[in-house]
């Protein structure tokens, strides 16, 4: 492995780690504008993170080591994902061969599972309620994710996100194929659900229907900071996969150089700003669905994913 590749590897991980709070801050700011508020600074998540890291960590009396270790395991999983999916390079970097789409999904699953375990380990009824709800809806979301992977596999004949990016960016007919359009729509709906956006969840309001935030209710100080950072990492990674693999696969510099990777950071930011704008628009125009209607939302996502594979079977092409 030459030095340029190693630098690109580190650069990609650093991009995910350092820019994920920024994207969250920009999203908060955009959302505030749609509500006629000035909103917090786009750097507010960094200030929050710094504050959390300075504060004391309290542990519930009955909690075990799982409660303490889980945020670090989740952080490690997200860090690994950050060097295996296409973020700032359209070509595979060394760690990319570790996992395919399915492996990436399993790593997301690992992070989610340990966070759930920590919620249950806290002994708090409220955290357990959040965990229970998350699992109830994940039971509908996970099959969709698997079907999305199937659809991606039938488009390209492989389960490698880099191959998908390459095919979709080079072939207009593959991009406009019904299978791809349907799977992109399904993944977008899943993205809204997984990142706690309306109409599924209004995160951050500490309201009764919250899902993601309910699980980390008992964490405080550094662990809460790490959990928040994990949330931003998950959001950043899912957004990156969505724009680079599904929705906007073009524009990345394919030269395997450090300069090319740096250029791609700018390209990625532009894509993410566009996506954040679209999501904020969705959030500004839809109301939160009732808790038990979330299944309907996920059923729609599942139906679209199944139809994507169905379209391939019926039409005989991706």
């Amino acid at each position: 492995m030459d030095w340029a590749t190693q630098i690109v590897n580190v650069l990609q991980a650093a991009t995910v780690l350092l820019l994920s709070p920024l994207i969250a801050g920009i999203a908060y700011r955009f959302k505030a504008w749609t509500e006629s508020r000035t909103g917090p600074s786009i750097f507010q998540p960094y200030y929050d993170l710094a504050k959390y890291l300075r504060k004391e960590t309290l542990r519930p009396a009955n909690a075990s080591a799982v409660f303490l270790v889980a945020p670090f395991v989740a952080f490690g999983a997200y860090l690994l994902i950050s060097v295996v999916v296409p973020v700032i390079t359209p070509y595979p970097i060394p760690f990319a061969s570790t996992v395919d789409f399915l492996g990436g999904g399993l790593l997301f699953g690992l992070a989610g599972t340990v966070t759930l375990l920590a919620a249950l380990d806290s002994g708090s009824n409220y955290a357990a309620l959040g965990a229970s709800r998350t699992v109830s809806f994940a039971a509908f979301a996970e099959p969709t994710l698997i079907i999305v992977f199937f659809a991606v596999a039938v488009i390209t004949g492989t389960n490698n996100p880099y191959v998908t990016n390459n095919l979709l960016s080079s072939s207009t007919s593959a991009y406009l194929a019904p299978t791809h359009l349907l799977v992109t729509a399904a993944f977008f709906l899943l993205l809204l659900a997984e990142t706690g956006k309306l109409p599924v969840e209004s995160a951050g309001l500490m309201e009764f229907g919250m899902l993601e935030d309910g699980r980390i209710f008992e964490h405080s100080g550094r662990l809460l900071g790490l959990n928040r950072w994990n949330g931003w990492l998950k959001q950043f990674l899912l957004y990156s996969v969505f724009v680079n693999v599904f929705a906007i696969p073009w524009g990345m510099n394919a030269a395997p150089t450090v300069a090319g990777a740096i250029e791609n950071i700018g390209v990625l930011l532009v894509k993410l700003l566009f996506l954040v704008g679209v999501i904020v628009l969705v959030e500004a125009t839809v109301a939160k669905v009732r808790l038990f209607k979330i299944r309907d939302f996920l059923a729609l996502s599942f139906s679209l994913a199944v139809l994507a594979v169905f379209a391939f079977a019926v039409l005989g092409v991706p």
């Binding site: 019904p178 359009l181 059923a299 139809l307 379209a311 005989g316």
Partner: protein, 215 residues
């Protein structure tokens, strides 16, 4: 796949998506708008085929589809529910969005398998199963709903499936034109007759009279 086939495939999947939407919606007004969109997509398909095959018959059909299926029939149906448009919904079918959406997808897959086993050898072209799937989706709607207007919409969906099949398999065939015109007229007459009978029974087009299509 050439660009013409790609357009046909895209519009076909769009029609299938409207079928899925119709299955998962319980309010009548969005259902009427949904069937109008489906008919409009069908008209786009007919128009595209007319353009690529330079067929005047198909162009006339596309115009007819827009005028009758996408505009006239939805207009007549919406007039019937104008007084209670915002609240009229399917009541008797224990309607559940999740269940109906999943049932619609499952039925589409089953219909495709049946098509593969029976008609695929006669109609081997890509997308040939889509009209058959649409027909089965229309049947599902007729079987699971009881509201008068929704039953009519189920019938219109089946009609759309017949026209869709004709557009794919019988291009330029004069009889097909006559059949489609007949179906259009039948659709309008059916809507008018059902609603006038309901009105005769109840005196005025009230909400309760439209809640169930009684035989």
């Amino acid at each position: 796949m050439d660009s013409s086939a790609e357009v046909v495939a895209l519009v076909g999947v769009g029609i299938l998506l409207t079928a899925l939407y119709l299955q998962s919606e319980s309010f009548v007004d969005p259902l009427i708008r949904g069937i109008a969109v489906q008919s409009l997509l069908l008209a786009v398909l007919l128009g595209w085929l007319a353009w690529t095959t330079r067929s005047v018959d198909l162009a006339i059909l596309a115009g007819l589809a827009v005028a009758v299926r996408a505009v006239l029939i939805p207009y007549v149906l919406r007039r019937q529910i104008s007084a209670f448009r915002w609240r009229m919904r399917e009541l008797h079918a224990a309607h559940r969005v999740t269940g109906h959406a999943l049932a619609a997808v499952a039925l589409a897959v089953i219909a495709w398998f049946v098509f593969q086993q029976t008609l695929a050898s006669i109609f081997p072209q890509p997308g040939a199963a889509l009209p058959f799937v649409l027909l089965v989706e229309g049947l599902l709607m007729l079987a699971t709903r009881s509201n008068t207007i929704v039953q009519v919409i189920g019938y219109l969906e089946e009609e759309n499936a017949v026209v869709y099949a004709g557009a794919l398999f019988a291009q330029g065939f004069p009889l097909f034109v006559e059949v489609v015109v007949f179906l259009d007229v039948l659709g309008v007459v059916l809507v008018a007759v059902i609603l006038s009978i309901q009105r005769d029974v109840t005196g005025t087009p009230e909400e309760a009279a439209l809640e169930e299509l009684a035989g």
